[in-house]
């Protein structure tokens, strides 16, 4: 063995384990900037809300705020309102959105109708918040398009008095505006995945249209439908801007309550309430999203076969 290779071998052996460990670790530095930002503005705030719900003003562990919220009939009633509102709009949005996606999916696959719907729903699902509230005020508000129209010939009918718009009924009506397009977006792929082969196999085996839907179509679509509905539920449950802009007085849903206790001047007790309420919201959304993930997994398994 020559002098040179001898040296090269001992050289790299000498640099050995320490250097190798260093080489293994260096790539991890690449994620540090992102991790710092995420810690500051996402992870830490989340943790502080979650733990804050179980702390008193001095930072000691306590169940007081959670217990207070949990036993307060006002808070509970509003929380129930929020759950109901989310459930109703998720259900209505899911049914209408699913029917819409079926109606569109049975059209031409490259047709103009389909392309318009795909683009339009992308925008409309995002069109929540302040602008949407104004849209509905312009329609059903005091000088709204429909209100003025209805007033002129049926001054005592439901739509003639716009106060319904500024309550829970109004919110439900407005929320459907972004729920239906969202359902369309998430459910259309599921309908597209219904293979024509299944229908043909069922037909050739003697199945009627009804039998196909009962035994194949609906069971295959059910997990996607439930998953999408859960998504819609979480979407409505988390929504704040639309309600905040439409309803200026009174907290009829939990997000409004949270913002109320944040901005009021009464001090620290409210911060604890805000955190306890936030904890409740996150708990609901986490459960819903976990169920959603489970259903997604089932569907993606089926898609592989």
């Amino acid at each position: 063995m020559s002098q040179l290779t001898q040296e090269a071998i001992t050289g790299s052996a000498a640099r050995g384990s320490g250097y190798r460990a260093w080489r293994r670790v260096t790539p991890y530095f690449g994620v540090l900037p992102f991790l710092t930002l995420a810690t500051l503005f996402l992870l830490w705030p989340t943790i502080s809300v979650m733990t804050g719900a179980f702390q008193d003003s001095k930072g000691h562990f306590t169940f007081t705020s959670v217990h207070d919220v949990w036993t307060s009939s006002t808070h509970l009633a509003i929380f129930k309102n929020t759950l109901l509102l989310s459930g109703e709009t998720a259900l209505i949005g899911a049914i209408l959105g699913a029917l819409l996606s079926y109606a569109v999916a049975t059209g031409k696959p490259d047709g103009i109708l389909r392309r318009i719907w795909v683009s339009a729903t992308g925008v409309l699902a995002q069109f929540g918040g302040v602008m949407l509230a104004f849209g509905f005020v312009a329609t059903f508000g005091f000088n709204g398009f429909i209100t003025t129209f209805v007033k002129s010939f049926a001054p005592h009918s439901f739509f003639a008095n716009p106060s319904w718009l500024y309550g829970i009924t109004g919110l439900a009506f407005v929320y459907c505006f972004f729920q239906i397009p969202l359902m369309f977006i998430v459910f259309l792929p599921a309908i597209d995945n219904l293979r024509p082969n299944w229908r043909e196999a069922s037909d050739s085996l003697g199945g009627s249209t009804w039998e196909y839907w009962r035994r194949v179509g609906i069971p295959v679509l059910t997990p996607s439908f439930l998953g999408s509905s859960l998504l819609l539920f979480a979407n409505a449950f988390s929504a704040y801007a639309t309600a905040a802009s439409l309803i200026s007085q009174g907290s009829i849903i939990t997000p409004l309550e949270i913002s109320g206790s944040l901005s009021s001047e009464t001090g620290l007790a409210n911060a604890a309430t805000a955190k306890a309420l936030s904890f409740g919201m996150v708990a609901v959304v986490v459960v819903v999203m976990a169920l959603y993930t489970l259903l997604r997994r089932k569907v993606s398994k089926w898609e592989k076969s």
Binding site: G30, P45, V130, G135, V137, A138, P255, I258, L262, S278
Partner: protein, 262 residues
């Protein structure tokens, strides 16, 4: 197979019902914003949009925010996602979890958590939109992550990166000139969604007392509903145009999966 008459009637009635529900507020906004007084028509509200200094200020703030968010997206989020995908496969799951976390945290809850650090930063460092844009960068993570990971899995980035390395490209060159250009479509759709989201965001900015576009619309709405409605309609049309710039409608649908509407 041919459609039966019943099926056709059924199909068109669904389309008709949903279309009218969705079109109604938009038509109403057009009607409302062109009303002057009780019975006259005019474009005064539309003309007044740009003579509202607060509103223009809000638009400028929101655009500034969007610019910072885009910078954070391009120079921090995208490289990190790509880096983890290529070099640190073990961190893929944790990164995905972090990126999907905002879906489980309602905006209003995030405000509760962020408000303390926000107050600290605004006292000790800066009150500029920088802080808010960092929060926004977190909000867009789910959509960004989805479209980026879809794009990364669609092309074999590993082989491309290895090819570039064996040909002598440096790490940063590989990243910025080989990998990121090949997932351009994914980056583009993440970008467009981010802009749409920043321009439409109200919850966090209003509660942290920023004068963003949506906050200003809401304020104007308290005084002059007509102008607010005109602005809302205008921005709806703007967002529509923006989203039409998406590379393909299909990718758009995928990226929007799991979107919170606000």
């Amino acid at each position: 197979m041919k459609r039966s008459l019943g099926q056709r009637i059924w199909r068109w009635s669904i389309l008709l019902v949903v279309t009218s529900y969705l079109a109604l507020p938009i038509v109403a906004m057009l009607d409302f914003s062109t009303k002057v007084g009780r019975s006259k028509r005019g474009l005064y509200a539309w003309k007044a949009i740009f003579s509202q200094p607060e509103l223009v200020g809000g638009i400028v703030t929101s655009l500034e925010l969007a610019a910072i968010v885009i910078a954070l997206l391009l120079f921090l989020v995208v490289p990190t996602v790509v880096w983890v995908h290529l070099k640190l496969p073990r961190l893929r799951r944790p990164l995905e979890l972090i990126c999907l976390l905002p879906l489980a945290i309602p905006g209003i809850v995030l405000v509760v958590g962020v408000s303390k650090i926000y107050m600290w930063l605004s006292i000790h460092w800066t009150e500029s939109p920088l802080t808010l844009s960092a929060v926004y960068a977190m909000l867009i993570l789910p959509y960004t992550y989805r479209s980026l990971s879809a794009a990364l899995f669609a092309v074999d980035v590993h082989t491309l990166a290895e090819a570039a390395r064996t040909l002598g490209a440096s790490t940063s060159r590989t990243l910025f000139q080989i990998v990121i250009p090949t997932i351009k479509a994914g980056v583009m759709s993440a970008l467009v969604i981010s802009i749409a989201l920043v321009l439409g965001e109200y919850t966090i900015s209003s509660l942290l007392n920023y004068k963003t576009f949506q906050v200003e619309i809401n304020l104007i709405g308290q005084n002059d509903g007509t102008i607010a409605v005109a602005v809302s309609l205008a921005s709806l049309i703007f967002v529509l145009l923006l989203l039409l710039l998406m590379p393909t409608a299909k990718r758009h649908g995928k990226a929007l999966l799991d979107v919170d509407a606000e």
